[in-house]
Amino acid sequence: MNRRGIILIGVLLLATSSLLALSVGTARIPLDSIAGILISRVPFIGSLPESQPSGWETIVMDIRLPVVIMAMLAGAALSASGASLQGLFKNPLVDPFIIGISAGGAFGWVLALIVTIDSTGWWVQWFRASLSFAGAITAVTAAYLIARTGSRVPVTNLLLAGVAISASLTAATQFGIYLLVEDPRPVMISLLGTCSNSRWGEILVVAPVVLISLPALIFLSRDLNAFSMGEEEARGVGVNVERSKFLILAVASLLAAVTVPFCGMIGFVGLMVPHMVRRFMGPDHRWLIPGSFLFGSSFLILCDMFSRSIMDRIVPLGMVTGFLGGLFFLYLIAAGRRSG
C-alpha cells in the first residue's frame, strides 16, 4: 500500500476513534447524538436534535471533547517527539520518557507548582509549562553531555544517562511533593499520567505548541534522514550538524515537555508509535513525522478511552501506556535477539 493511502487510513482512524471516545464514559451517549451535537456547533448549518437528554451536550462539549482533544494532542506530541529523537540518535529505542525529558519536565512542573500553588491567573498555566520545558531541556542536555565521549554520543551511554537522570529527578520530584505540597494525592495522581481532567483552557496552551512543532519537524525531516546515516554523513550532505541537532532536541523536548503539566508522565508512546508507523511507511522522516502525529493521536485517544472504560473509575492513562510499553519493549528485545 502506498503512503498516501496509509495517511488516509490514519485520518479515518482518528475520526472514528474520536467519535468512539466521545461516546464512552459514565453516561453512554450514542454516536448519532454525538454527531448531532458536534454538527450543531458548526456555524450556520447546525441545529440541535430535540429528543435527547439534557446534559448530553454539556458532557460532550465541556467534559469529553477537551479530554479527547488533549489525548489527541499529547499522543501526537509524544509520538513526533519520539520519532525525531530516534532519528537524531539513529536508534529506535529512544523515547522522551527514557532519555529523561519527561522526568525533567515533571521536576520543572512541580517546582513551578510549589511556587505558584496559591496563585491564580492566566499566566499560571504558561509559567508551569515554561518551567516544565526548562526542566525537560536541562535534563536532556545533561544526559547528552554525560553520555558524550569525545565527539561521539554512544546511544547506550545516552540511555543509561537518561535512566539515571530520570531516576534521580523523579525522586527529587516526589520529595518536593511530599515535603511541600499539603495534599499530595492529586498531584501524584496527575503525574501518573491522565488526560481526564483536561479543560479547554489547557488546550489553548498545548495546541499552539503542537501545531507549530509539526511544520517545524517536517522541515527538519531531511536533516533527520541524514542523521539516521550518522553525523559525519549528515555533515557531508550539507547539514549544519550542531545547529540542526539543537533545533531537533529543542522541538522534541518542547513537544514532550508541554504534555507534562497537563497530562503527567505518559511513557512509551514515543517509543511504540514511531516504530509501528515506520513499519508501514518506511523510515523516511518526511512521512514518518506526519504519520507519527496522526497515528499517535489516535493511539492515545484509544488508550485514554480504554483507561476510562475498563473499571468503574478512571485508571491513569500512564499506567495503560506503561503496561503496553513494557510489553512492547520486551517484544523489541526478543525480536532483536532473533534477528541476531
Partner: protein, 253 residues
C-alpha cells in the same frame, strides 16, 4: 583543489597532526597511505571541516575552509566516511537521494530536478536494478557502492573516501577502485582516498601521499614515491617492490 598547509590538530592536548602539508590538484586521484593511527582519518575530518585544526590552514578551491558555508561546501565536496551504518532500513534509492540535499532549498522537501542525478549515480555504480532494495539486504560491496552513489548524486567536484574497501574481498575492492577511477577519468572528479591496500593503491591512483606519525612522509606520483625505502620506513617492514605492468609490493618481513 585541496591545499593543506602546516596543519596541526589535537584531540585532547597532544597533537595528532604535527604539521601536514598536502596538495591535491584538480582531476587527480590521490591515495593516502600510512599505518593505523598515523592521522589519516583526522586529516580527512579537517579537510571536511568537521574538525577544527589547532593551527595551519585548509583551502578548498582556493578558499579557506572556514569561509565555506556547510551546504555550499557539500555541493563541491562529497564524502564517503568509514563504517557507515544506517540506523534505519532505507532503500538504496532513498539513501542515494540524500545526496541531493545540498541542492535543495531550506523549505524544499523533494527535489524535482534531482531524479536525473540519482539515476545517473545509480547507473554509474551498477545499482539501477537494486534501487528499491533495502540497504540491509545488500552485500558489503553493494552497500559500499550505494554510499558512493550517494556521494556521486551530490554532483560535487571532489570526493573524499575513508578506507572504501575495508572489509571487502579483492574482487569487490577492485570493483570499487575501478568505479571511482572511471568517474575520475571520464568526468575529472578529484579524489582523495585513504587506502590500506598498497597494491590496489599503486594500481589505481595517480599520486600517493605517505603519512607517518602525523606528518606527510612523501607525496608525489606513485612510481616516484613508492619504493623499498619509503614503504619500509613508513610501515616499519621489509618490502621488495616489483615494477612490472602493475607494481606489486612484496612483503618480506
Amino acid at each position: 583543489m585541496i591545499e593543506v598547509e602546516d596543519l596541526r590538530c589535537a584531540y585532547n592536548g597532544s597533537d595528532v597532526l604535527k604539521g601536514v602539508d598536502l596538495e591535491v590538484e584538480e582531476g587527480t586521484f590521490m591515495g593516502l597511505l600510512g599505518p593505523n593511527g598515523c592521522g589519516k582519518t583526522t586529516l580527512l575530518r579537517c579537510i571536511t571541516g568537521s574538525l577544527r585544526p589547532r593551527r595551519g590552514s585548509v583551502r578548498i578551491m582556493g578558499r579557506e575552509i572556514s569561509g565555506w558555508g556547510r551546504k555550499e561546501l557539500s555541493r563541491k565536496l562529497s564524502i564517503v566516511p568509514q563504517d557507515t551504518s544506517p540506523g534505519f532500513d532505507f532503500s538504496v534509492e532513498e539513501v542515494v537521494a540524500m545526496g541531493r540535499y545540498p541542492h535543495m532549498g531550506r523549505f524544499q522537501l523533494t527535489d524535482p530536478d534531482g531524479g536525473a542525478s540519482v539515476n545517473r549515480a545509480l547507473r554509474w555504480t551498477g545499482l539501477s536494478e537494486l534501487r528499491s532494495k533495502k540497504i540491509s539486504m545488500l552485500s558489503g560491496g553493494e552497500r559500499q557502492r550505494a554510499f558512493i552513489a550517494r556521494a556521486f548524486a551530490q554532483d560535487a567536484d571532489i570526493l573524499l573516501m575513508d578506507e572504501p574497501t575495508k572489509n571487502l574481498d579483492i574482487r569487490h575492492s577492485m570493483d570499487i577502485m575501478s568505479l571511482v577511477r572511471k568517474k575520475n577519468g571520464k568526468e575529472g572528479l578529484t579524489i582523495l582516498a585513504v587506502l590500506h591496500d598498497l597494491d590496489l593503491s599503486v594500481r589505481f591512483c595517480d599520486k600517493v601521499a605517505l603519512m607517518k606519525d602525523g606528518k606527510v612522509y612523501d607525496i608525489g606520483p606513485v612510481r616516484k614515491v613508492i619504493n623499498e625505502d619509503s614503504v619500509g620506513d613508513v610501515f616499519d617492514i621489509d618490502v621488495k617492490v616489483h615494477r612490472g605492468k602493475h607494481m606489486h609490493i612484496e612483503v618480506l618481513g
